[in-house]
Structures are given as C-alpha cells and as structure tokens.
Amino acid sequence: MTPESLLVLVISVLTSVVFLAGIVSLNSRRMKTLFIALHVLLLTANVSWLISREFGIAALDKAVLASTILVFPMTTVLILAFFHGPLFTGRVYLPLAIFLPSLGIIHLSGVEGWTSSNLYDHSAFAYYLVLCLAISLAESIAHWLKSSILHKEGYLLMLSLAILLATGPVYYQELKILNAGGLIGPNLGFPLFSSTVLMALLRADFPLVRLESKERLSRGASRFELETGRVHFATETRPKYLRSIFAEKVGNGRPGLLLTSQPSGRFQRKYRVKDAAFIEVSFRNGKHQINASDMSKIYFLIRDFVLIHKHSVVLVDAFSRLVCNNDLQSTKELISHARRLASRTGCTFIVPLSLVTGTERSLLIGTIDSVMEFPDVEKKVLEILDAHIGNLSRHLLRTYCKSKGTVLKDLTLEDIPDLAVWITSTLDTLGVYAGDNAILKNWKNESYRISLDLMSYYNSDLEEAQRLSTDPPVTTESLISQVVFGREKIPKTSVRELPHERTEREMREKLLYVFTKYFGEAGRFVLAREVKKLGKSLDKVSRADLTRLAERAQEAMMEFGEIVDIDSVRTDMRSRGCLMKDEIVGIAAEGV
C-alpha cells in the first residue's frame, strides 16, 4: 500500500468514526437521515478512490466522480433542511430542483469522459458547485449574523463549508499551482468537514416528541375558546388558568406540548392530562429535560412538534425561565418563530407572562399583541366566600387546603368543584351543631349559594374570567342571600353569568319585581312558595315554567282575596290577580 493510499485509508476511518458518532448521538429522524445520506457519499468518494487505486478497478472512478459531485447538493439540502425544516414539508420539488442539475452533470461526465482527477477543471461543474456553496454559505452566514437562536449553528456550518471548499476545489487548484501530482481525487478534509456539521446538528438536536397516533377529534364543546394559529399571552400570578385551558384543549382531543419548570407527574395528576407531551425546562439536558439556555434546542423541539402535530396547543409554562436564562433578543426571536409556526400549522401557543418584569414584557411582545388578564384563583374564591360568610372565609379555605395537603396559593381552578362540595358539607355540619332548624336552614341555603357561585366561577368562559377582575356584578342568588341573612350592605360577588344565564337572571329579577309589586314585602315569600309547589328552586325557574307560575300567582292572589271577607276587596284582588298573571305571561313572552 502506497503512503497516499494509507493516508486516504486513515481519512476514511476517521470519517467513519464521525459517521458512527452521528448515528449514535443524533435523535432527530430527519437530521439523522440527511447525515447518513451525506456520509454515504463522503465514504463512497474516498473508499472508491482507495479501492480503484489499490486494486486497479478503473470503473470505480465513476463512483468517486458521482459521489464527489453529489456531496455538494447534499450539503445544501442538509443546511436548508436544518434551518428551514418546514420549507421541505410536502414540497418534494425543492430538493429535486437542487439535485436534478447534479444528475445532469453526472450524465455529462459520462458522455465527455471526465475523471475524478480533473473534475474541478470543467466549467459546468464549477458553476454548479459555486451555486450550491453560495446558497449554503448565504444561509449559514445569514443565521450566524442575524439570528440569536441559531447563531452558533450558523457559524459551525459556515466553517464546515469553508473546510469543504478549502479541501476540495482550492486544494486542487493549489496542487496545480505547485505542479504537484499528489493526492488528487480523494478529499482529505472530509472528517473535519463532517465533524463540524455534526457539531452544528448536535447543538440543536432534541429527541423527537411524537404523541401516539389516535383519534383526535374534538369530543365536546370548549368553554375556553381561543383563536387558533396565534400566540396568546396572559398575565396571572401563577399560570393556573392557562393550565386549565391547556388541560381542557388536550382533553378535547388536541395534541398538547407543555414546557414546564415543574415535574410533569404533579401536573398530570392535578389536571388529569395524560395525552400530552411534557418537557421539563431545567438547567441540564436529559430525556425529558431541556436546558433553559439551549434556545436552539427549544426552538427545534417546538418546531418539530407542531409540524408533526398540526392544530396542537403549546403551553410555554416556564416562559420566565427562558426569559431569565437567555438574552431578550433570542426570546423575542423565539416568539416571532412561534407566530410564524402558529399561522402555518394552525397550532395555538399560550404564553404566561408571570414572573416577567414590565420592561421585559414591553420589549418582548411590544404593543401589537393583546394580553389576557386573569385574576388569581385563590383571591376570587376568597371574594366569593367573603360575600357569603365574611371573615370566616379565609379560615375555612385554609382548613380546606390543609385537609388536602396543600396551601392556599396553590389552589387552582380544578380544585373548585371539590371545594364547593367540601364547603357545602362543612357548613351543613356546622348548621346541625347549632341545633336550631331555622339556623340549619339558613346554613343550608348559604352553603348551597356558595357552591352555586363557586361553580358559576368555575364554569365561566374565557371572556368572563378575564372580566372578573373588574366591575363585579351582583347575582340574584347573592341578592336573595342578603335578604335571608338580613344584611343591609350588598357585598361584592365576582360571579359572572353566561349570556343565557344573564337573561335567566333578569327574568327572575323581573318575576321578583312583579310579585313584590302585587304582594308587597310578602311577594318574595309567595314567589318562593309557588316555585316550590312547582317542584323547583328559584334559580332553576325557566321561561317554560312561567305560564304555570302565572296561574298559580293568580290563584294565590284569589286565595288572599277569599281571606278578606269584603266583596269590593275580593273583586279588586281578582282583577289584580288577572293583571299579575298577564304581567308574568308577558315576561315569558319576552324571551320568545
């Protein structure tokens, strides 16, 4: 074996080592495939040269020639796929457009009888080579200079292209200047070139997050309507409401990705979310962990996920950790990439702005985005309880949290149904201890109203939940509770109704008004009695019940007239009963 062949053998072994290292360490399937394809060409070029030189097989020179030609478009495709993955999704014509000229050149080389030793002398190949390298270099330099996320990857790929250029055509020309025969044909810089390519790929590589394919159709109406294909920002002290939104979307069949700073198990238990991908944003890289300062990995993780799972929902729960571990420019770039991905794939990004300073907030999202504002869950629950039971509320809530092994600040929207049940049973028990039927009844009424208010808050939609922080309305239930408990001051309650609930409430208020108008102060008690006779509670009265209620109201009025043994009064009561009936029927007709 000649010294030249030995050198090429060593170079080929080194290239194989890089190749194996890439296969073992690369996780992204797309990048791995491209890396393997590139190395097949690199190894074919050098090994074929070695075999043809050692064993005198001239035919293998064609393989050297073809693979050397194909290395350049392959590098271009790899670089374009790396920087612009979505560019190639469903667009096969793009790689074909890059590769087709190379097939033409290979054909031309066969016709004109080119050899591997004079490949760079032919102008057709020189033009094509310049084109491929120009595209790749332009992409790499642009990312190196402009991008704050893919800055280092751009640099490494630019370096690899410089090596390829120096060890290919420049080396060949240099040998020509020096009039040295030497090693023309094989490329001695392949191990260095492929290792810099591998370094760039590894910097951005993260295991592909793919959810199990299953039926993912929407299974129910959503109470949190969020516009798809957008990045939604929201402020709340802790991202509880946003987690509920995420859990609901995933529960409705949308693929979900959660980037969180907390262990995923706790989240899964709390929100009963199983079919979502959880990635912990920490300070190291692991199987389900990503380093908060590896912005390129985070970008590739999100990009690959939303490209595989169209119309998915991504909650960047650990946004504050990304903000404080990276410069603002790269976080801003990530947001703009997310916007582009969202509009392209129809996915929804939810980004909480908790633990972000005002300056950062204005620099990151500017003024073009609207920001949803949610009040703290524990504060709203306290407000609701305050309206009913005053100072006892905080104590009661703390007792609940203690019984559940948690603390007040960790109370979430998902705890509310359980809390409503717990409060009802606790207040009922307290009423029993009082040993007085009237008090017991009052406690029961109150606990019932608390649970109603809590559930109303729990079921409030997104728009309602945001409005809760300002101008809280007073519901009929709260009004009645004040009457029952004889409070003069109407406390604030933050419960908002849905539109249909609002019309129902207005209807009940009108009903109460009509009864009070005809029966005076006793009106509300008569109303309660007649509603009870219908087998319903006041808050469950619907418009369909109003006709029957109108007849009952008329009968009640006539009953009162019978008690008063004066004819004129009796006649007056009858006519008032008819008027009352008409008014109630009128209320029923309003909603039709």
């Binding site: 280092k152 640099y155 370096l159 020096l178 002290t237 700073s261 920490s282 300070f283 380093n291 908060a292 300062s293 504050s320 950790r321 404080c324 571990n325 990276n326 410069d327 603002l328 633990l355 300073t357 300056t359 950062e360 600040k409």
Partner: protein, 174 residues
C-alpha cells in the same frame, strides 16, 4: 493545553511548508514579500484562532463579579452555597455558562471563580427548603430578616432571581 500546542505546531508546520512550496514568490523582492507575507501570516493566525474559539479576542479574566459576605466565603468555596437571590435584572450580563469572579463584598480580592449554572425566578413566598439550603440560609425567618436588610419587600407579589453557580477551583486567589 496539549490540543492547543498540537494545533499551534500544525499551524507552524503549515506556514513553514508554505514558504518552501511558494518559493517562486521570492522573485517579487523582499519588501513585497515582507508585507504580503506578514499580512498572510496574520490572517492565517487570526483565522485559526477564530476557528478554534469562535472569537478574535482572547477571553481573558472574568469581567463580571458576584459579591459575597465574609460569612459566605467558605460556603461558596466548598459548594455549600449554590445560589444567590437578587432583584430581577432586565439586563443579561450574567448568563448560564458565564465565568464570574467571586469577591468579598467591598473589596477587589477574588475568592474563586464561579460558573453560572442557571437562573430562575420565584416569588419570595414560594421559596422552599431546597432553595433556602442552596442560599445557605437555615430558616425562613433568617431569610426574611436578611431580605429586609437588603431593602427588599416581602410582599407576596414580589419575586426574586435565583442565580445558581458552581465553583471552578477551590484554592483562594490572592
């Protein structure tokens, strides 16, 4: 170190070989050769430095510092104190991976060098036992008094920035 010397040796060999193989350039005369050759050598050296470190200027001594109390010196040196709490910063002078100089408060004497592992933000109310251990604080009460001394508020909406670090070397620097 060995890798750097090897690369330096390879570079020197390439440059010397370059002079040998490009002997035909001697015909242009000494002045041209000195100017063009010097420029060429500088460009090659800078290109190598840039290719290896990604920057043209040497890294040098750390410019960023973290200041510690006298009581914390040993804890920092031995890795017992793993983090500090500070008010949230809008600038990003210290990032994960940055090498900073740990100094005694009010002095210029370097205790050791630290590598920043990561930065996290937390509400003061959310600081748990693990966080306090990392800060080298024994109890919540101790933390409250320390935080108040720095002029910080303990409002539940106030959040701080936890900077996690690890010592690079154990010996004291004078």
């Amino acid at each position: 170190m060995l890798l750097r010397v090897t690369i330096l040796f390879a570079l020197s060999a390439i440059l010397v070989s370059g002079f040998w193989f490009h002997a035909e350039f001697y015909k242009f005369g000494l002045p041209v050769l000195v100017i063009a050759g010097t420029v060429m050598v500088i460009v090659i050296i800078l290109a190598f430095r840039f290719a290896i470190s990604g920057r043209l200027q040497p890294i040098g001594r750390p410019k960023k510092t973290l200041e510690f109390d006298l009581a914390d010196l040993d804890k920092v040196r031995h890795g017992v104190k793993e983090s500090i709490l500070r008010k949230p910063q809008d600038n990003r002078e210290i990032k994960p991976g940055t090498i900073v100089s740990a100094r005694l408060k009010g002095t210029n004497s370097e205790i050791c060098r630290l590598r920043i592992v990561g930065i996290d933000r937390k509400y003061l109310a959310d600081l748990d036992r693990k966080d306090l251990d990392g800060l080298g604080i024994a109890s919540k009460g101790e933390f409250s008094s320390m935080w108040r001394r720095t002029g910080g508020s303990l409002n539940e909406r106030v959040f701080g920035e936890l900077v996690f670090f690890e010592p690079l070397e154990a010996e004291t620097r004078e």
